[in-house]
Symmetry: C2
Subunit: 321 residues, 2 copies
């Protein structure tokens, strides 16, 4: 059986890019361009809680980094590097090799090399912690608290597919192989919108990524910015795969479904063309779904222009009793 | 029951120092002084593996940060801030409050505020991930690979107490309340040698912190620097509490005992006075235990000047079969 040090060397040591001191010292070191700040985010993912035990390890390696890159995207930060903590209940080398492949492939695609980490054995659960670092010019980060009254509200990509895939895999919905095939990629291979976040610097007033669901995450922007909003359900970019779904599960998926890793952002109405150009530059679909209001609260209009009343809640790891 | 967001707000939100954007956005933001690099380290700690389930939560909060600050110390980096991931098997608010107290107290003592995090529920194990960030002027970090032939080898503090406390609590040694009382603080409340690491900038050639045990960690310096070493057991600063121990467990504790979080470093023989002055300035005991050699390998001499043959191994989370 390989030792911890051999494991680290085999799967997690890559030649560090110039200027970075990578895996193998007490700390990793990286430079930050003059005038830029460091943006950082951390996530702790657990088997049975954030992913199914039998998930494809390559997809898991991808997603563990993707959810953190999505946080950099939501700040308009350019990725610099990341560190990984891995607690393994057993030593399964093919599993580890596939996990590392998925992780490193996404890291390479975004210029976000693994520069440090910690590998340990766990008693029960597989646990994965990832911390990413990015850089953003001082004062240009896309924060949650910058929305202004009268801003347009936008979302990127499509909504709802990850929620449906999760409920199919979890047995909450009756088995539907075609629907699962059409939605599973959104759940297991989310694509962080890093290029869009960078393109929105200087255009968007506020941004967040949709990890907990549109209503809840948009709610964070509204609360931090002390504004309200009105959005229209029929404008929302529901995933094409959900076209045949009933209204109730569709609303739940689009409004409340988490694990989306698209961006929700606000921008002045005068910058609509700039937002559309940013979407084209980043090869990302962007859809305007409503606008912010001075009056607090979040109104969702249905297809008849009436406020929807029974709105789905977002995901909370410790739901109120 | 409190929601995740309420929990985060109650225990983990502090007013961020000027220039830092703290808990509550997709990313935390921090500035880095011109000409300095970021040093970062991450650890993933698990119940039953890195700490006993009944450990004092205040001590656990302290130690979770201390082991990471110790990595900054070993690089000669000044702490900037940290992020915390916490997976809780249950919601025990008194436990959480004590954990947060221990964490924040050490963070405040070292100017290393909590600026971001992730709280989640786990199925079985309590898991804690901490990532710290520090700053060090470019080119001045104390790396593992800088030792030169003929350097003195030094250690800070005392050795062995944490190992003995661990084995007493784990039932490997017969119960001894007095010995446990005298050693437990070293295991549960390690004091990271941040001030010493800063004082050794420009003096030490190489440094590491003693998380895995003296022989193993010194071995990492030797391997990275491509040098050998000869050290003398009788020079090593065994903890005073171990004075009555038999030779075998004493050697095991001093040479192989992990969880020490003191520094092992090398410095030119011509800088002995500077090292002693750095120790005084940092209020840290520093002890010279040997020197580096051109010939590869690590020789440990006993009290009669003979090479010791049966040396204890360091801690490995995945020991070879």
């Amino acid at each position: 059986m390989a030792s911890e040090f051999e494991l680290i060397a085999r799967y997690f040591t890559r030649t560090a890019p110039t200027g970075l001191l990578g895996v193998g010292d007490d700390c990793a070191l990286f430079p930050v361009p003059p005038g830029e700040q460091v943006a950082t985010s951390t996530d702790l993912l657990l088997e049975g809680r954030h992913f199914f035990p039998d998930v494809d390890p390559r997809a898991l390696g991808h997603k563990a980094l993707a959810v953190n890159l999505s946080d950099l995207a939501a700040m308009g930060a350019r990725p610099i590097g990341c560190v990984l903590g891995l607690a393994l209940p057993r030593l399964d080398e093919p599993w580890l090799a596939a996990f590392a492949d998925g992780f490193h492939a996404l890291a390479a695609a975004h210029g976000c090399p693994l520069i440090g980490g910690d590998t340990t054995r766990s008693a029960h659960d597989l646990a994965i912690s990832v911390t990413v670092f990015g850089a953003v010019p001082a004062g240009q980060a896309l924060r949650r608290d910058g929305a202004q009254v009268g801003d347009d509200i936008w979302v990127s990509g499509e909504l709802g597919a990850a929620d449906v895939a999760y409920r199919l895999l979890d047995g909450q919905y009756p088995a539907d192989a075609a629907l699962l095939a059409a939605t599973r990629g959104a759940l297991e291979w989310p694509q962080p919108q890093v290029a869009l976040g960078l393109a929105l610097r200087g255009i968007a007033h506020a941004a967040i990524d949709l990890s907990d669901g549109l209503l809840q995450d948009l709610g964070h922007i509204l609360a931090a910015s002390r504004v309200g909003a009105c959005v229209e359900f029929d404008r929302m970019p529901a995933a094409a795969a959900l076209a045949a779904m009933d209204a109730a599960p569709l609303q739940r998926a689009v409004l409340g479904g988490g694990d989306v890793y698209q961006l929700c952002f606000t921008a002045p109405a005068a910058r609509r063309d700039a937002v559309l150009a940013a979407g084209r530059a980043a090869n990302a679909r962007v859809t305007r779904i409503g606008q912010t209001l001075a009056q607090p609260g979040l109104i969702v209009l249905d297809g008849q222009g009436r406020p929807m009343t029974a709105l789905p809640a977002g995901f909370d790891h410790f739901p109120a009793a």
